[in-house]
């Protein structure tokens, strides 16, 4: 497939994953702010921003509704949900011939929703409802992507983008929230809310309960979000997804063996597969999480070097 097309599919998928992550974290943060006993609203907002990669232009000004509205609708801010949806649609528009009509129509509808005056005016009265609508739109898109598209290279690049973005975002989030999780402040009830919040940021609360029952503890939460092999938002699962996609892309293409890339992914995969939560907690937890992010960035660079921006001269030599 054309390198430019692969690039667009990959970013379309990353942007949507990013939008979904932002929406979910915003939703959870706002609901935690309702309970007065925990951290101040300003501190929570600050944490949210760091967890979203410290975007500029969204510094706390005391008006939560206005802040939230900007984080969702300000299309000029690169962290906003609208900006991400625009980015996804723009990428999709450039590869209209590659994606199915159903995919395009879902995404296009979501785009028009984000830009409709009605949705924007309803936002203040029902923030949660609006956020749920956005998530629904994204889920529908993912659903039709999986059911209407050939699971060939294009689909694999979509999957690659989704899992790499998710692994990176989850690692960032855990890096921000793990100190509070491991050294909790406030009463038991508030601790519980914080823990549930963290799980809900990854849609993991119910799944966690199925594995560990509703008995919440910091080490189990970290274990679940980092090392679970069956839960789609756990980092280990995401890295496995990345690995499978790269394997599949290589199998269908079969030109060069991108050893550096497979080695890079393999290293991260092994790190998550052969480390126990005790080792992580007794060691430098922050450094561990930071290393996941670094490796994700490296994998992204290698994907670019092998599939998108390779040198013509070396390609002619093959």
């Amino acid at each position: 497939m054309l390198s430019r097309v692969a690039d667009s599919l990959y970013w379309m998928s990353r942007y949507l994953e990013r939008a979904e992550n932002t929406v979910r974290q915003l939703d959870v943060t706002m609901s935690l702010m309702l309970d007065a006993g925990g951290s101040s609203a300003e501190k929570r907002w600050g944490q949210l921003l760091v967890s979203l990669g410290s975007p500029k232009g969204l510094e706390w000004n005391g008006d939560l509704d206005a802040m939230a509205s900007r984080l969702v609708f300000d299309s000029l801010n690169h962290a906003s949900v609208t900006y991400c949806v625009n980015g996804a649609r723009e990428n999709a528009r450039q590869v209209r011939e590659e994606i199915s009509s159903e995919q395009w129509q879902r995404l296009n509808r979501l785009y028009h929703q984000m830009h409709s005056a009605q949705v924007q005016s309803q936002f203040r009265s029902g923030i949660s409802d609006t956020l749920a609508t956005v998530i629904d739109g994204i889920h529908l898109f993912k659903g039709v992507s999986d059911t209407t598209m050939i699971h060939g290279q294009g689909w694999q690049f979509i999957r690659l983008g989704r899992y790499l973005e998710r692994a990176y975002a989850t690692a960032t989030m855990l890096e921000v929230y793990q100190p509070g999780l491991l050294a909790p402040q406030g009463g038991e009830g508030y601790q519980h809310l914080e823990q549930v919040g963290l799980l809900r940021c990854c849609t993991a609360f119910e799944a966690y309960c199925q594995v560990y029952t509703a008995d919440l503890s910091a080490d189990r939460i970290l274990e679940f979000l980092l090392l679970n092999r069956d839960f789609p938002h756990a980092i280990r699962y995401c890295v496995e997804g990345v690995r499978q996609s790269v394997d599949a892309i290589q199998r269908t293409g079969g030109r060069r063996s991108p050893e550096e890339l497979t080695a890079g992914i393999g290293r991260l995969h092994a790190m998550l597969g052969f480390t126990t939560i005790n080792e992580i907690l007794t060691g430098d937890t922050a450094a561990f999480l930071h290393s996941i992010r670094e490796q994700c960035l490296r994998i992204h660079e290698l994907i670019y070097r092998y599939y998108v921006h390779y040198s013509i001269q070396s390609a002619l030599a093959v």
Binding site: L2, S3, R4, R93, Q105, Q153, Y310, I312
Partner: protein, 488 residues
């Protein structure tokens, strides 16, 4: 009003005006033309707001499908849906037969002309077409001289614009031989119509057009370079900001070929490759939707970032087919247009089946004098422009505009032609909740590979503004589905 019409049909038309211009649906007496009767009766039976509801649902479907075109020079809402009229335009089997034969004849002759002009130039030596007119055309490409074009096909994809005059006869207004667009609207209009009026469509016996993408693909395949039995075909687009981008993606998807931009292509040793995730892949046929000027910065405009450096050399070497060929804009120059009937007689020794519109050349002194004295009655066009730009419509112009054009004509006569203001035909359109007549043209799409192929139909473009004569989408035009009927 005509006799024998039901009261419902009379109500349907209300105060619908008829005058000198040919009305597609009604006889001058007011009676509905025979082939439109079933349509009129269906419309008359529909409840008042039903049509409007159908129209809204059709428009919503265009928007969510992203069937849009881009309007230049506006920041907000740059994507618009192409305005769409719900009522089909009907063409009888006899009318279509004539159009088909006429266009086949015309396109064959124009292809002969291009081959001749870019090789021996016999027609110029025989003084049938003035040498000066050809060599001063801004779309003439000297680089094409003596170049062997695959199968001698210069114009594989054509969209000619036809008008119907008050006599009821179709004439050719212009031939679009460079990168004609709009075929995707023909195809999507049909899909929406089938959904909106399934019964009516079925009862009419409409000839299908849906196989156009397949025909286009086999046309492109037939033009592949020798020794490439399984050619890799790609559609070259200027990119997402082009007004016809939707069409490019649509056609690529329908044909199952790659949609490439200039930046996806590289040339090496006169072979064109595209950059894929599996490395470089050779390209054999390029269906080009980028103008000559922007196709190759080494040969044409050096500041173009839309094309592919080295493309022309690869083409010259015969390693890649680019279609339409370069320099075909020569034959749709508006001044050369006046010579097309002579070109047909010269190469085919036949009389033109579809006539031209009377055209005055500003380079001829007699013509120019006549035009300058009658600017308020004529339409003046700049020869190299398209899309309804650079035009003066005499009867709708101000004295100041006419003065301006007169000055420009005197300064550069080769750049202008004039034609009578045509009272071309009108068809009923749904305006608000009632019918009003609007001027329409017809653009059939012609494919030329092993032979000439025309899908029965085309894009009927509508000048949606009351009284307007301009049908271009960039100037507020819309479209209708065109139903070519099976012969009875």
């Amino acid at each position: 009003m005509g006799a024998g019409q039901s009261a419902e049909v009379e109500t349907l038309f209300g105060d619908y005006p008829l005058d000198r211009a040919f009305d597609e649906m009604r006889e001058p007496t007011g009676a509905v033309r025979p082939h439109y009767k079933a349509l009129a009766e269906t419309l008359a039976r529909l409840p008042q707001d039903e049509l409007e509801r159908c129209k809204q649902s059709a428009e919503l479907s265009f928007l969510t499908q992203g069937i849009t075109f881009t309007v230049y020079g506006r920041d907000e809402g740059t994507e618009r849906i192409f305005p769409y009229d719900l009522l089909p335009r009907l063409v009888t089997a006899q009318e279509w037969d004539r159009i088909e034969r006429g266009l086949t004849q015309r396109i064959s002759a124009l292809n002969h002309f291009l081959r001749d002009v870019y090789s021996d130039a016999k027609i110029l030596n025989d003084r049938v077409v003035p040498r000066e007119l050809v060599y001063s055309c801004k779309h003439y490409r000297r680089q094409m001289r003596g170049l062997q074009v695959p199968r001698n096909v210069y114009i594989a994809v054509v969209g000619s614009d036809l008008l119907r005059l008050d006599s009821g006869k179709f004439v050719v207004l212009e031939d679009n031989l460079r990168v004609p667009s709009g075929v995707s609207y023909m195809l999507t209009n049909r899909r929406v119509m089938k959904r909106t009026f399934p019964q009516l469509f079925h009862s009419y016996g409409v000839r299908p057009i849906e196989h156009y993408p397949q025909l286009l693909l086999s046309t492109l395949r037939s033009l592949a370079p020798e020794g490439r039995p399984e050619p890799n075909i790609a559609l070259l687009t200027p990119g997402v900001y082009n007004s016809a981008y939707f069409e490019h993606t649509y056609l690529a998807r329908q044909m199952g070929i790659d949609l490439v931009e200039g930046r996806d292509l590289v040339t090496h040793d006169n072979i064109v490759y595209m950059r894929t995730t599996d490395g470089l892949k050779r390209v054999d046929v390029i269906y080009r939707r980028v103008d000559d000027d922007f196709s190759d910065p080494l040969v044409f405009r050096p500041d173009s970032a839309l094309g592919c450096a080295g493309l022309f050399n690869a083409y010259r070497a015969g390693n890649v087919t680019v279609t339409n060929a370069f320099g075909t804009g020569l034959a749709d120059d508006k001044a050369l247009y006046a010579y097309v009937p002579r070109i047909i007689r010269y190469y085919l020794d036949e009389d033109p089946i579809l006539p031209n519109v009377e055209t005055f050349l500003m380079t001829e002194e007699k013509d120019r004098k006549h035009v300058l004295a009658n600017l308020d009655k004529l339409v003046v066009k700049a020869v190299g422009e398209s899309g309804g730009y650079g035009m003066l419509i005499g009867p709708h112009s101000t004295a100041q505009q006419r003065e301006e054009f007169a000055r420009q004509i005197e300064a550069n006569p080769r750049n202008y032609i004039a034609q009578p203001t045509l009272d071309f035909s009108r068809a009923p359109c749904l305006i608000g909740n009632h019918l009003e007549p609007r001027h329409v043209d017809l653009r059939p799409y012609i494919l030329f590979g092993d032979k000439v192929n025309i899908v029965p139909g085309g894009l009927t473009r509508v000048a949606l503004e009351k009284g307007s004569l301009v049908v271009n989408s960039s100037q507020g035009g819309g479209s209708k589905d065109t139903w070519v009927l099976e012969s009875q």
